[in-house]
Amino acid sequence: MVDNEIKPELYKCKNCGKTTDPELFIKNFRVCSKCGFHDNVPARERIKMTIDEDSFEELWGKLISTDLLGFSDSKPYSDRIVETIKKTGENDAIITGLAKIYGHKIALGVMNFEFIGGSMGVVVGEKVMRLAELAKEENIPMIIISQSGGARMQESVFSLMQLARLSGAIKRFQSVDGLFISVICHPCTGGVSASFAFQGDIIIAEPGALIGFAGPRVIEQTIKQKLPPGFQTAEFFLEKGFLDKVVDRKNMRWMLGKLISLLLSIPMEGVEA
């Protein structure tokens, strides 16, 4: 041990302020050990903590959005895409592929909030549509972990049409008894909650996640009053009857495996019956 070694910067909980060693924090699924606050998880890390080790086979990872409309706000959309890809190391707001969970093959989609607020444009729509088609073809369950601010404005009606495209594929998958489990993480609003996030046969959310059609700011502007505390949280929607469960992140993998096992009447690999 060297005396002047620089200590790694401590993680400070955004909710209660408790400081933790960052390695321990990550080991604890990025959940505060004191207050249980679920912090954001990068998409790749999320995949790792959800599925069997080294079982992920990414599909359609090369799909990239183009500036279809010549859109420009504070910067041209084409620049924004290039910069975001560079910054995040990901090509769009969802990672899709095949994986295994407790030995059972699944089609998996995990959204990536760092990529333009997890917004859904043409690429997200296309990948979710293909994922549902693949799950149908292979007759395997589909799990999508959502986290999104909604449709991507920069792709305008092209984005909006994705709600229809992917919903059509999910309808076809579910109509042949395909099992679709939707997991909703903080935050999830707009076009993603108004499509696949709420189309699951089973819908689960993480504690404290903000969920809704409209964002709280839009609602407050519309009704010209403050929203009550806890409005539009996962717990709120559980109480209102729109979620099957609110599940702690550390139990999520097991919950997904157990649900698949029960619903499809198959054993969970590595778990005593």
């Binding site: 296309e126 404005m153 092209f158 309808k171 059609f213 209102k240």
Partner: protein, 315 residues
């Protein structure tokens, strides 16, 4: 008549026309020639103005209070209509209309956003902004249409689904998500016409048609130009720029390959000649129903393939 700011050049001419008409009556003068000349000038100016509308001006026309509204179409197309109420779960949402009637002898169901023509109606209909029960009523009636084998016509005219406390509590996102998904299972033809404002998910919640038609001066967008401006620029007054960028006009969307057909409007917009405008819509709808009924493959397959092959094509 409410005039839009860019219609000013016509206001003066129409006032003059009115004067001539009054004079002709009060003084028993023959002013036919003068009247015809002014009328021709008005037509010409309107044609000029409406051929060069900016995207935001199109939005203004799409939102015009005097534009034919859902109820006008229902009465015009299906005079024997019977309105159907309620979602069988919570309430009857007046922002969402559902009815059954006969369109030139053939039973059809009409579902649409119910925008009012004045303040009183708009308050009653919540400005055409539906709650979850509205979307659930729409789905219930689509299933009824499916059961009895009658085509569904959906008419889109909404600023968006209502963003409020009750709407969230009762699952606005879920209601729209389920509609968009389950419209893919409806086994009768669905014709969607954007008659005014096509406001995002709230419009698409009844908008998954086998054919999607748009009136010449309607708009369809993922977000309102005002909302887009306040999010992207943190300045809601820059809506003219965002209206341009969002490519929300019928011409733009046809150009993008996202809608199937533009239904023309009379010179100066549907609000000037509503009967003529509604006739054009009715004829287009009838033609598309006929085409869809002649399709051999199951209509649900047709619908899925239509959406699956929407542009852009990704590798």
């Amino acid at each position: 008549m409410i005039y839009l700011d860019f219609e000013k050049p016509v206001v003066e001419l129409e006032t003059r026309l009115e004067d001539f008409r009054k004079q002709a009556i009060s003084r028993s003068m023959d002013l036919t020639e003068s009247i015809q000349s002014v009328q021709a000038q008005i037509e010409e100016r309107l044609h000029e103005i409406y051929s060069n509308l900016t995207p935001y001006q199109t939005v203004q026309v799409a939102r015009h209070n005097s534009r034919p509204k859902l109820i006008d179409y229902v009465k015009f197309m299906t005079p024997d209509y019977i309105q159907l109420h309620g979602d069988r779960r919570f309430a009857d949402d007046l922002a969402m209309w559902t009815s059954v009637g006969s369109l030139d002898g053939k039973t059809v169901f009409i579902i649409g956003h119910n925008k009012g023509r004045d303040v009183k109606e708009n308050i009653k209909f919540n400005f055409g902004m539906a709650h979850p029960e509205g979307y659930r009523k729409a789905m219930r009636v689509m299933e009824l249409a499916d059961k009895y084998g009658a085509p569904v016509i959906t008419l889109l005219d909404t600023p968006g689904a209502y963003p409020g406390i009750g709407a969230e509590e009762r699952g606005q996102a879920e209601a729209i998500a389920v509609n968009i998904r389950d419209m893919f299972g409806i086994k009768v033809p669905i014709i969607t016409v954007v008659i005014g404002e096509g406001g995002s998910g709230g419009a698409l919640g009844i908008g998954v048609g086998d054919r999607v038609l748009m009136m010449r001066y309607a708009m369809y967008s993922v977000i309102s130009p005002e909302g887009c401006a306040s999010i992207l620029f943190r300045d809601g007054t820059r809506f003219r720029e965002t209206a341009q960028m969002l490519k929300l006009t019928a011409t733009d969307l046809k150009g993008c390959g996202l809608i199937d057909e533009i239904i023309d409007e009379p010179i100066g917009g549907a609000h000037r000649k509503p009967i003529q405008a509604m006739s054009l819509v009715k004829e287009a709808i009838k033609r598309h129903i006929k085409e869809l009924l002649a399709i051999k493959e199951p209509i649900t397959e047709y619908r899925y393939n239509k959406y699956r092959s929407l542009p852009p094509k990704l590798d």
